[in-house]
Amino acid sequence: MRAQDAHLPHDANHSVNRRQLDKHHVIDSYPSDGRQFAIITALHRLMATLRLNASSPLLICEHCDSVYRRPGLSRGESSRCVRCDAVLERREWLELDGLQAMALAGSILFVIANSWPVLSLGLGGQREATTLWGMAVFMWNDGYPIIASITVITLLIVPFLRMAGIFWLLAWARRGRRAPAFIGLMVILARIKPWAMVEVFVLGVLVAIVKSKAYYDVDPGAGIFAYAALTILATVASSADLRGLWDQDLQDGPGQLDGSSV
């Protein structure tokens, strides 16, 4: 397709009514009022010099490079790419308040999960218990620093950074403000996302329980219950499409995580 005659279809697979979509055309159709016209033209010129599109009325599918006009989504809706079927954008069922509550609960659970043992084994009057940190320390001291590092990064640092980071960002976003260190934090959260492995660890503990129940008296600690609960919260909070926050400062007052600001 040639660039000159390119047109941008609206037919991403989502159900939005016409009026909602039209709202997003404002950026292209200059208002008749002369003063506003001048302001917008100046804004566009400024954006053009910065090679920016004013507040991104466009959306590019990161999986196949397809370009769309940004659809307006209602709660719980998501848009999918017509070319490759990847999710383009999602608007959460939970609004900012709900998400922030999730992130706070997750951070607290995280402290509990790491303060109590995940598992303890008993045999003939002896009892051995370990926390997640104890497990990493043991592996480090036993000559396996790589495994210890993988454990600490994927089960401690990354999940906690995500929970606490989301909480911090949302705490400011709810007041319609950008959090201090917003850019750095958003970039870090996006980059570390694939490295959170809490759910794998929970399954691993289940395997360890089955493995040892024939020989030992197995007692799951408070830590693993907290981790199991954390898995659910982390899945909800981490699936949040935080990218909407990038546009949020263009809105008045508390915004929504739908990324469709104009």
Binding site: L58, V82, V207, A208
Partner: protein, 208 residues
């Protein structure tokens, strides 16, 4: 169906971190997103070479990961070095079929599928194959989704080794196989990340 245009044809680049859409033509070397500062790529540089390198390295490490024991367990009955497949067989013999299947899938099937899937994606994309592009795009997202579950056995070994210290009655200790295995998972995850799924759709025609 109305096929949407592609960013590279329109002279646009999308930021993978923040979603910003930028106008840009020409070389994208050293280009940074004006909003979040992340590197902008029309296509990830050297995606084929880097992904192949990581994938082959992971495939090589996968051999010792399976041959070298991952854990040693000792009790009054003797001392045993366990490999991954040995653990699966043991569970199977003890009639713990569900756990045997879980470990087998996470430790053997998932990594193997990742090697095959990524290899297939690399070869077909390089050739500009047109068939099944949508399916291959889904395959790539599937690889990203299941990849980290292979870490299961690594966590089990770390947990058991930290817990089972009952002297002569029973003890467990890690063995070097677990390092190879952990590295296989990390390398395949990096391989999946360095592949650029947009390459699946590059080719002489946009029609699927």
């Amino acid at each position: 169906m109305n096929v949407p245009p592609r960013a590279i044809d329109l002279g646009l680049v999308g930021c993978h971190v923040c979603g910003m859409v930028c106008r840009h033509k020409g070389s994208d070397v050293g280009l940074a997103c004006p909003r979040c500062g992340s590197a902008l790529h029309q296509r990830r540089h050297h995606a084929y070479a880097i992904t192949w390198a990581l994938l082959i390295a992971a495939a090589i490490l996968f051999i010792p990961a399976n041959l070298v024991p991952i854990m040693n367990t000792a009790s009054l009955y003797g001392s045993y070095d366990n490999t991954i497949i040995g653990g699966v067989v043991e569970f199977w013999h003890n009639k713990e079929y569900d756990i045997a299947v879980v470990i087998f899938v996470a430790s053997i099937v998932v990594p193997t599928l990742k090697f095959i899937a990524l290899g297939l994606l690399l070869i077909t994309s390089k050739r500009g194959a047109r068939r099944g592009r949508r399916q291959r795009a889904k395959l790539y997202r599937g690889v990203e989704l299941i990849g980290y579950w292979s870490m299961l056995d690594v966590f089990v070994v770390a947990l058991m080794s930290a817990l089972v210290h009952f002297g002569l009655l029973g003890s467990a200790a890690p063995r070097p196989g677990v390092i190879y295995f952990g590295l296989v998972v990390v390398l395949t995850m990096f391989a999946a990340m360095s592949f650029d799924p947009r390459l699946i759709w590059d080719g002489d025609s946009d029609d699927d």
